[in-house]
C-alpha cells in the first residue's frame, strides 16, 4: 500500500465518528506553601536558624466508569455488576528551596560544600515529583468476583503501606466466605521512576554506602565509602560525591492474602509478603581502584549471594463485633512474623467495649524492631518492648467529649532485668454555643526516656459558614533522660498555634497556620503555612 493510501486510511480511522463517552472524574488539588525554621545546634554561641521554604502541589484524581460500561445499570438503579473500569492516582510535586536543603556547610579546612553533598539524605526533600499511587482498576470480572489493579498499587500489612509497581488482584471464592488477594511487581524505591522514599524498607543507611576494597591478600581489604568524586555528576538535586548502587537495584515483591469475606461480626486475614533484590556486582572497571575490586560486596570465593531477601513476613489479623444488649464488644488481635528474622516482630490484642456514649479499650502490644534484610542492625542484640494500654472515650454526638489514656511500657533486658516507662493523658472538649468550642488536655509521663508534664488549652470559633478560627496554647515541662546525652536537661517549652480557614467558595478554602515556639534552650522559632485547598470539605 502506498504512503498516500496509508495516510488516507489513517485519517479515515482517526476522523471516523465514534460514540462520545463522558467520564465522571473527581479532583482534589492542594497548593501548600510553608515557611519555618529549624535549629542548627551550636556548641559555641547561640543556635542558628535554618529556613525551610517549601512549596508543594498535590493532585488526587479519580476517573470512574471509563467507557460508560456501567451506565445502563446505573440508569436502571441496579447495583453495580459487570465490568467497570476506573483510574485512581495521587501525584505530588514538592520543592524545598530554603537554607535547609540549598545552603552550604563549612567543614574542617575551612572547606565549604553544598549541604546536599555532605548530607545525601537531603535529596529526599529538595525536589520531588512523587507518584504516590496510580492504577487502573478493573472491577466486576469473572461474574463480579475478580478485581484487578494495574500500575502503582498500594499494599498494606497492617503496620504500614508500601507501593508496588505492578499489579494486584482480589478474587472472591465462590460458595465460600473467602477472598484471595495477590500482589506482584517491583517495590517502589526512591530510585524508581517518580519514586517515593517513604515506601522503602527502613534500616539500610540511605547514604554513607560503602564498597569492599580488597587488600593484598583475600580477606584483608576494608570497606570504603563509595566516592563519587571519581565520577563527578555535579547535580544540585543529589550528592555529587556519594553513590549507593545497592539502593538503586530493583526489588521484586510478591504477596498473597487470604481474607474472610461477607462474614458477619467477624473478620480475619492472613498474608505473606516477600521482597528481594539482586546483589550489586562491579560498579566500575576492575582496575578502577588501587587494589583488585571484585564487587560491591566481597566475593573472592563467590561468597556473596546472587540475591538477598529484604523482607519476608507472614501476618495475621482478626477482629469481631458482637453485641451484649447495649454493649458492643469488639475484640481484635494482630501479629506479624518475620521469616527473615525467625521472630515475631509485631503483635497486639485488645478489646473495645462500647456503650452509647462510652468506649473503654484495654490492649496489649508487643514490638521487636526489625529492618531491611541488608541492614546489620538485624544481627544486633535487640530487646523487645511490651505495652499495656487503657483508653477511654466519651461522647459521640453531645456537647461534651472526653478522652483519657494510660499506658505502661516494659523493656525486657537481655540480662533478665526489666525497666519501665508509663504515663497518661486526658482531655475534655465542650461545645460552648454561638460557634464556640473549647477544650483542655493534660499529659504526664515518666520512666525510661524522661519525664514530661503539662497541658494544652484550645478554642475554636466557627463564626460563619465561611470563616473558622482556632487557637491553641501548650505548656510542657520536660526532663530528658540524662543517661545518653550530655545535652539532656530540664526545661519548659511553650507553644502558641493559631489557624484560620476562609471558605472562598463551596469547595475552595484558604488555610493559614502560624506557630511560635519557645523553650529555655533554643529561644524562639516560628512556622507559617498557607494552603490553597481546591477540594475543601469542612469538619463537622
Amino acid at each position: 500500500m502506498s504512503r498516500g493510501a496509508c495516510t488516507a486510511v489513517a485519517l479515515a480511522v482517526a476522523l471516523a465518528p465514534v460514540p462520545a463517552h463522558a467520564y465522571e472524574f473527581w479532583l482534589r488539588a492542594q497548593t501548600i506553601g510553608q515557611a519555618y525554621q529549624l535549629r542548627d545546634y551550636q556548641l559555641v554561641g547561640p543556635d542558628l536558624f535554618l529556613g525551610r521554604r517549601r512549596v508543594t502541589q498535590t493532585l488526587a484524581l479519580r476517573i470512574t466508569d471509563v467507557g460508560d460500561l456501567a451506565a445502563a445499570r446505573r440508569l436502571a438503579r441496579l447495583p453495580e455488576h459487570g465490568l467497570r473500569i476506573s483510574w485512581q492516582s495521587y501525584i505530588r510535586i514538592d520543592h524545598d528551596f530554603g537554607d535547609y536543603t540549598t545552603g552550604s556547610i563549612t567543614l574542617a579546612g575551612p572547606l565549604r560544600r553544598d549541604a546536599i553533598d555532605v548530607i545525601p539524605e537531603l535529596a529526599d526533600s529538595v525536589a520531588g515529583l512523587d507518584l504516590m499511587y496510580g492504577y487502573l482498576q478493573l472491577d466486576g470480572l469473572a461474574d463480579d468476583r475478580l478485581m484487578l489493579q494495574i500500575g502503582r498499587v498500594l499494599a498494606d500489612d497492617g503496620w504500614g503501606t508500601t507501593g508496588i509497581d505492578g499489579g494486584s488482584a482480589r478474587y472472591q471464592v465462590p460458595e465460600v466466605p473467602l477472598a484471595v488477594g495477590a500482589t506482584a511487581g517491583l517495590r517502589v524505591r526512591a530510585s524508581s521512576p517518580l519514586g517515593v522514599t517513604s515506601y522503602e524498607l527502613d534500616g539500610t543507611s540511605g547514604a554513607g554506602c560503602q564498597e569492599y576494597v580488597e587488600g593484598p591478600t583475600p580477606g584483608t581489604g576494608s570497606w570504603q565509602l563509595i566516592d563519587r568524586n571519581r565520577m563527578i555528576t555535579n547535580s544540585s538535586l543529589s550528592s555529587d560525591y556519594e553513590y549507593c548502587p545497592q539502593r538503586d537495584v530493583n526489588q521484586p515483591t510478591v504477596g498473597i492474602t487470604l481474607a474472610t469475606s461477607h462474614t458477619k461480626h467477624f473478620g480475619a486475614e492472613v498474608g505473606y509478603r516477600r521482597t528481594w533484590s539482586d546483589t550489586v556486582g562491579l560498579i566500575g572497571p576492575v582496575n578502577r581502584l588501587t587494589n583488585p575490586d571484585l564487587g560491591l560486596y566481597p566475593n573472592d570465593y563467590g561468597q556473596a549471594p546472587a540475591t538477598g531477601i529484604d523482607e519476608e513476613r507472614l501476618y495475621a489479623r482478626a477482629h469481631a463485633d458482637w453485641r451484649l444488649g447495649e454493649l458492643a464488644i469488639e475484640p481484635y488481635g494482630d501479629a506479624r512474623y518475620s521469616i527473615l528474622h525467625a521472630a515475631f516482630d509485631r503483635a497486639d490484642a485488645g478489646v473495645r467495649l462500647r456503650t452509647r456514649e462510652h468506649v473503654l479499650e484495654p490492649a496489649v502490644e508487643y514490638y521487636y524492631p526489625t529492618f531491611d534484610g541488608d541492614s546489620i542492625f538485624n544481627a544486633f542484640s535487640i530487646e523487645p518492648t511490651t505495652d499495656v494500654r487503657l483508653g477511654y472515650r466519651y461522647g459521640d454526638k453531645g456537647a461534651w467529649r472526653a478522652t483519657a489514656d494510660a499506658w505502661l511500657r516494659r523493656y525486657a533486658h537481655e540480662d533478665a532485668t526489666t525497666s519501665f516507662a508509663g504515663g497518661g493523658d486526658a482531655g475534655i472538649q465542650r461545645v460552648l454555643g454561638a460557634g464556640w468550642r473549647g477544650g483542655v488536655d493534660a499529659l504526664a509521663d515518666t520512666g525510661y526516656g524522661g519525664r514530661r508534664i503539662g497541658g494544652t488549652a484550645q478554642a475554636m470559633w466557627r463564626g460563619s459558614e465561611q470563616v473558622w478560627l482556632r487557637g491553641r496554647m501548650i505548656v510542657l515541662a520536660v526532663a530528658e533522660d540524662p543517661t545518653s546525652t550530655v545535652l539532656a536537661g530540664h526545661y519548659v517549652t511553650t507553644s502558641a498555634n493559631f489557624s484560620t480557614t476562609w471558605r472562598v467558595a463551596d469547595t475552595v478554602a484558604l488555610h493559614f497556620i502560624a506557630e511560635g515556639d519557645h523553650d529555655a534552650i533554643h529561644a524562639i522559632q516560628t512556622r507559617a503555612i498557607a494552603v490553597v485547598d481546591l477540594a475543601f470539605l469542612p469538619e463537622p
Binding site: Q88, H262, D321
Partner: protein
Amino acid sequence: MKARIILLLLLALCVVVAAQPAQPEDLDWSPVVYPLQRLPLIFSHQKHLARGAECTACHPNALSSQSAVDNLLPTELQCRACHPIDRSDPAKRATPTAACTSCHPNWTAGSVVQQTYLTPPPLKFAHAQHAQTKCETCHPVRGVDLATTKQLPTMASCITCHKDGDEERHCTDCHLAKLGGLMETQFEQGRLVPGRDGLGDQHGPGFTNNHTQEARQAGNTCNACHDRSECIDCHNGVVKPADFHPGNYLALHVVDAKRGKDCSACHREESFCVACHERSGVGTRAASQFNEIDPSKRFHPIGWASPNAGPNLHAQEARRNINTCASCHREEDCLTCHSAQPGSAHASPHPVGWRGSSRCRAMDRGNRRMCLRCHITQDELGCDWSKH
C-alpha cells in the same frame, strides 16, 4: 490454677454466646439517613393489618416506586376506600371512623390540618426492585400503631440479604455517590459517619488519632468515603499534623523517640531522621560541632561506647531502642568496633546464644549480604564457625 483457667474460659464462652447480634436499638437508625419526620396522625398499622388490610391497598405506588424520594404515604383518597370521610361533616359518626379528629389530632374546625412530612432519605432505593420481598421483612409494622423511623430498615438488616453490602465497592449501590465514586457524606441534616452497622468502623472522639484497628480490619470500608490520598496526606504528608504533633514537638520528640515509640507508620529513620539530625548539627558528620574525643564537645557521656573508660551505656541503649541510634548513626559507625574485619575491635553486637541460633540461620539463609559487612572470609560465614 487449672480451675481458674477453666473458669476464665467458661466466662469468656458465656460472653461470646451471650454477645450475639441483638435487636436493633435507637442508635442503629442514622438521623442523617432518616432525618426529620413529622407525623401528626393517629393511625394503627396493627389494627389495620389485623382486619386483613393489604399493604398495597394504602400504599399503591410502593410496588412501582423507583426512587427513595417517591412519596408513598397514603393520601385521603386511599383512606376513603374504606372510611366514609365527608369534609362537609368533620364530626361524622361512622364505622369505620370518618371524623377528621379520628386521624388528625387536635384539629379544630376552620384550622389548617397539620401536614405529614417525611424527609426523603439520601439513599438509592427502588421498591420496585424489591417487589418479591414481603413488606414486613423490611417494615415490621404488625405490632405497632404509627409507623416511625423504627419501622424503616437499618443497614444491618439490608446486608442480611445484600451480602456484598459490606464491601466498600458496593456502598454506593445504596448510598449516594459524588463524582469519582466516593460516597456523599455531607448533607443538610448532618454528616454521614459510620454507625452501629456491624462493620466495626464506628467513628468517635479521638478517632483521627486512633483508628489503627479500623484501618487494619480485613475488608475495611474506609475508602468508600475517604480517598486514599487523605490517608497519605497525614501518614506521608508534607505538613505536620498539629493534632498529632503538638506545638514545639521538635523539642518534645526526644522523649518519645528515646522510649522507642514506633514512628514508622509515617517516618523513616534513615532518611527523615538522619537528614534532619545531620542538618541540625546533631549528626555524626563533619558538619557537627560535636566531638566525642574532646571532653568539652561531647554529645554522649564519658565512657559511652567504651567498656574500658566508663559504663559503656551505649550497649544498653542500643538494645532497648536501636532506632534512636539509627536516627543519627549510619552502619559504618557501628562497624568501627562491631566487625570481624582486621583493625576492628571485634566487639560482637550479637545477642547471647546468637551462633547456631535459628535467627542467625534464618538471616544467613535469607540475606548473606548483611553478614558480609563484617565477616569476609569463607571460614567466618555461616552460623557454626568459631573464632580461633
